[in-house]
Symmetry: D2
Subunit: 452 residues, 4 copies
């Protein structure tokens, strides 16, 4: 991480001191610690990314990673005059628990804290900002968003695509007099937000673009835990439990559950820890062989022979080297994966048929049930706070940054920095170690791996 | 925080290098980063407590708080010979979601990773170690603890008290040849564990005492989030929702819910964010007046007059200055609080009777339902990992320390340090700010508070 | 049951044959069985109340109870011209799961099936129809009631009282041109509906009054199972489970749970069967002594001595002969019961204190959490159908009857008949037998009972 | 229904009057109504199947269906000497919520009420009784079955097949000295039980065979509602809700959910009533066309054009005339259905592609999640009582009958009678009428149907 985090964070226009605007919030804030009032956050409040330490040449404990990041929160001086703000919110990509909670919180913070009265919902992600979009903006206020958090999904609708047509989008922002854009979405969405920000800069416009990172897979860097992730893990548990019941109750039963996780197996890993029934947790970060003496099927056979049942939990991106590519891409540009679950089910069946062993395989794919669940209390709290911090950042004139929580503190991360790499399960780290100790699966199921 | 964290952490006996014991775990570990094996943790891996930074005189960003803490996890060299270990586990104080999960995880880690075969459960907390205890030790193994996590509470039973009889307890440890004691409990339990450790030191015994901090109130310092807390918040939500329904459906309905929180209002604060129905969140950290122009009752009346219903969420320790003391203490030595919920219900009724306004008050106290809930997926994961880290610490010969998660990393905290102060909701901080913005309650309901 | 059920059912005005009105429903109905169209229900379709048989003097199996009841459902010829209908709905008494479901279904059936466009919600039960009611009617249509079933309670608000001011209410009905009143409520509400119907008859008005029986206690006669009851039992289960965890985890722990059931112990009895943790199920129908050799406390002591923990589930109306009367009545005229739970907790404590036995009692009163729960799927289905049948009955010109399900068929029951007696748990019958076999409690805990 | 129900019910051996055996149950029973003791059930207590009435030639209301059925429950005189009983229980076919509850209840009733001490679990259905079965009997007692009801599935395992090898099974019963067989299973299992009973009769053995009907589809005749059905409907709801969220949140989103229901659409119909989001409920009883002006696709297109999203709930057996047969059978001899959900998804996609309309289809198949769910409180109560009644029937020497609930009373139904026809959704009846009014789908989607 050699980048200077400042760079991306700097917004490209001057701060106009509006003084303290007349707010409709009950919060009384101050700069003074200890006066019993909530405290403003200062642009100089910076946090270290990491808590790891090392001993320097002087024998002192110093931070191993010296990069710092700006603390999020309400600023004393804000950039925008609330009376002139037209804020827009869009939700992009697949749905994820907590979207409505974030929308609700953004709207309420703009409305109550800052007195903003023009807040619009953009329908179906960036596609709602394209020139030929058939979907009008939806006016938002606290009444409209009241109770929306009790439903899964997003009241704005969500769609992939549209993020490449940067010109069209910035044209729309100009035409609609939008000066704040809150984009809730994943990697592609955030890249789009960055590009939109660049175009805004080029045109010399004064529009703040703030990202709220959404990745049910929890695979964005600089994001301690993405919203909806905890709900997703909880929502995956009943499927694993069901697979276990089906497996135990059948002759040589095998329960196979596929969960989300295109490039990172966080959902699968956490679900394996949340629920003690998983015997094989398969994730993209830990490649495995199907056949051969140390392959999955040999280990599976051994378990079936001794324990009479097995539960396999597989992330959708695991084992993609084993299955022929579809060659297709989705509108966000992501490669469409072959369905590893269906493939694995068929390989297992074939294998045991050849071995002459009766097995009963039950395949469960709960992905849509998980994605569409309403946020649980953990994510409700997280999203309520995330949305407010996005509104604070936007009003302060921040742009091309996203709101994240690092070490349990809300921070601003330059989008450019956040999207430069993915977050992965470290197979040498403590999470995966704890997973392996819980599932008691072989540490490696590669034949060429000398480890064992 | 002027203490040197090293002090408490140092165990008071030599490390015997057993070499790599024959383990029954599938985990293959190494010291080498990048070899694809799980990595041992080194005693030199230390983490900063805090990510806050400041600019030093040279203009460099440096840590504001320089204290560091030892990273938890399996060590390459362990102190105890697994064949000689007799580990004991006890659960103390009130029950809390996740206790069985921690027990299960401790047992499995001792058994599978370290090959320990003598693991005992102590019944009813420290009282099970007293001389005249009628409750025998319960032998524990993976079969006994299989599935116990699906139930709330603790299979060992839990009780207050016993922690002061340090001599008796150490006598019992000696008599029972226990050389590892894992004590799961709150402030008092941890103080007890420290004292037991001191007595052990005095007697020159080689017994490791490890604490697993349990506080449903989330009020221990150096504990990012205590296990069971997330489940507790989630379990409180239906009561708040019920109170809201009752309130909205009655003529001038008032729903009143009391939750745990003797000295810290974390459950109440988080529940208010998880669930948008709370209008007044009352916590110990933010004293309030009942009467007077800026008192709770005046604000409540205003809300009833305008909105026709209200929901109040109160932590059990809030408003204790308003209610006559019981003068009693529980066996742990905690002052028994008067029931603020019943008191408040009666004060509200009296007030509105005097005002001649019909109100319908519904009081809900879900405390026992919350405490006894099984851990949700978040806490299941957390407890699974917490327990394993406790076993790792014990086997490494650590003592008088507790297992905690700080900045999402598992660490060892000297007990002496951890119990020296409570964790409180910072009323000037971002959590309380977000609560106030969510409930839209007055920032202060003290009459003498000049703020507003 | 000597009454002729016809009497109460006869509406006191002529049927105007409007022919088949233009409906907005997709249902195509007919009189012909087997034509693939939904069939109208005929006023001659009558069902036996009971399936019990006996052998008559000729040796033939004949019904033991010969009374029959009219089948509910859409009639081919309806009384009211939908264009002239102003239908009103009110919800009375305490809240209960499913109220919103019934409201929603009534509105949708009026609107879609019959094309009625004037539907009003009366606020706070009959009190919303009193002369000086401050609460206006709420206009209802399918949009207003969309999704309301996802929340507990009633969007109309509910209150006790008002039912005695029959004159005022009928004045209001006349003034507001209401010609259909759907009253959802319990015993008192239904008596009120009957009286309102009598006054309507006296005045020669053409107003249909239909009752939808609401009793979370399930204690109305001629009602197989009241809506909300199944949800209530399910909602009581976590409290019993919690009480069991608390009891098992404490030294001589006693979990005490109070549930609804003023005069009938159906909730307590069913909950005891739904959840195997109850050791003593106490209901109004089965009086018990506290003291003496066969009293509850002696049996409780025996259980504590042998099993070390106990769970008691008590209906609020049980043991009222043991506790001093409050002498108060609620606005519905029901005697206010002393809180048997708090009384019992204190008696148990006193008893064991005197016996010198340490016990830990945890008392849980989940009543408001249960009442305010949203309907589960069983009750959602039931309420959806109940509401539609109420609308069908009203449009057909039925009056002074209520909608009930008997032997799983929807029927019309004359209110006069329904309110003449309560439904009770038959202590000699199969339900109570199954409860006793499940709890394994003594069949009687009266000292003077020779049974044992 | 011309059969005489007596025939099948008569057991083929004499009743030995053991007098009142010494029981370990607290229940004190008697023959006398009104003495406060639970009452024995008499073999002469017979109930009418149906409550429908007609007017006979004398103008009297008489039952339309005159068949009666024997009431279930404990008899004063039982056939078997408990000391000589070896009872066996097996669970056959696919799993279903409530199996463990029934097992538990059967075991407890045998043990506590009758003092039976030899109770065995047969593994994997009838296959566990085949000559070459590798699975030993599992000894059952109250400790073994304690808490098993908290898990889905069956502790005995379940499998299809085996029921045709009647000779082998009766040989095993003889060899194992089993004199009571409780078979829990569906249509095929019950036919098997009948055949086993016939072979027993032929051999002159004294073995009671009692069936407990299990059909998650609720499609057995003479069974008011099969156990597990209510849980299944409740467990299907989140998938429909998820499909609705996915549909509403996508551009022209279509949510497609497949639920169980091979020949009867009860789960789909009830789920549509439980959850108001279904727009098209497709069941086997109501055939539909895909194409053509009145076909499903035309109606779906209309909905997408006007409402922008749609939810389709389809029973697995619906539309099987539209999809090529697999030609395969499962081990129970049931035709393996082609997956109508996958077929429909592909047809919808093809259709809209051809129409040039972007749609987003999300297909959810929650079948295994539903089947493996633990019983909800309704089914827990039902199964607790069902199992006890099965044990009562067996001890009384009943055979070749099953335990059912009709009109909310537990009864004995001769198996021969029960399996002679299926239960279907009556498309002219009130349930389907209420479904159609709820979904507002066309009453028929057949092109040749003149109706509309």
């Amino acid at each position: 991480m050699k980048k200077n985090p400042e760079e991306g964070l700097q917004y490209n226009f001057d701060i106009t001191n509006l003084g303290e605007p007349k707010l409709s919030t009950p919060i009384i804030m101050s700069d003074d610690l200890g006066d019993g009032r909530a405290d403003y956050v200062n642009d100089n409040d910076r946090l270290f990314f990491s808590v790891d330490s090392e001993i320097d040449t002087d024998g002192n404990r110093v931070p191993l990673v010296k990069d710092t990041v700006e603390k999020a929160g309400p600023r004393k001086k804000i950039y925008f005059n609330p009376a002139h703000v037209h804020a827009a919110i869009c939700t992009c990509g697949g749905i994820c628990p907590g979207l409505n909670n974030v929308i609700r919180s953004v709207v309420r913070c703009f409305w109550y804290r800052y007195g903003v009265r023009r807040i619009s919902g953009v329908q179906f992600g960036y596609r709602g900002l394209l020139e030929n979009s058939p979907w009008p903006l939806i006016p938002l206020d606290p009444d409209v968003v009241d109770d929306i958090q009790e439903k899964g999904g997003t009241i704005l609708g969500s769609a992939r695509g549209g993020g490449m047509q940067v010109d069209e989008i910035v044209d729309s922002l100009e035409r609609l007099n939008i000066n704040i854009l809150i984009a809730i979405g994943g990697d592609g969405t955030l890249r789009g937000a960055y590009d939109i920000g660049e175009e805004i800069k080029k045109r010399g416009l004064k529009i703040s673009v703030i990202g709220v990172p959404k990745t049910i897979d929890n695979d964005l860097s600089f994001i301690q835990s993405s919203f909806g992730f905890d709900t997703a893990v909880g929502a995956a548990v009943p499927s694993v439990r069901g697979a276990h019941v089906e497996a135990k109750n059948s002759i040589n039963g095998i329960g196979l559950v596929k969960v989300m996780g295109r490039e990172s197996g966080f959902i699968a890993a956490h679900t394996s820890l949340a629920q003690s029934d998983v015997n094989f947790c398969l994730i993209p970060e830990n490649p495995f062989d199907l056949y051969g003496p140390n392959g999955l099927l040999a280990h599976l056979k051994e378990r079936i022979m001794t324990r009479k049942h097995a539960v396999i939990l597989i992330a959708e991106g695991a084992g993609q080297d084993l299955v022929p590519s579809t060659g297709q891409k989705d509108p966000s540009g992501n490669v469409k994966y072959a369905d590893i679950g269906i493939f694995l089910k068929s390989e297992i069946k074939k294998y045991f048929d050849e071995e002459g062993i009766e097995v009963n395989i039950k395949y469960i794919d709960p992905s849509y049930i998980i994605r569409s669940a309403p946020a649980n209390s953990f994510d409700s709290i997280y999203c309520a706070r995330l949305g407010a911090h996005a509104a604070h950042a936007a009003m302060a004139g921040k742009t091309q940054c996203l709101i994240s929580q690092i070490n349990n503190r809300f921070v601003h991360i330059p989008i450019k920095q956040a999207v430069c790499k993915r977050n992965h399960v470290d197979v040498e780290g403590s999470l995966w170690r704890d997973v392996i100790e819980n599932t008691r699966q072989p540490f490696s199921m590669k034949n060429d791996k000398s480890i064992d």
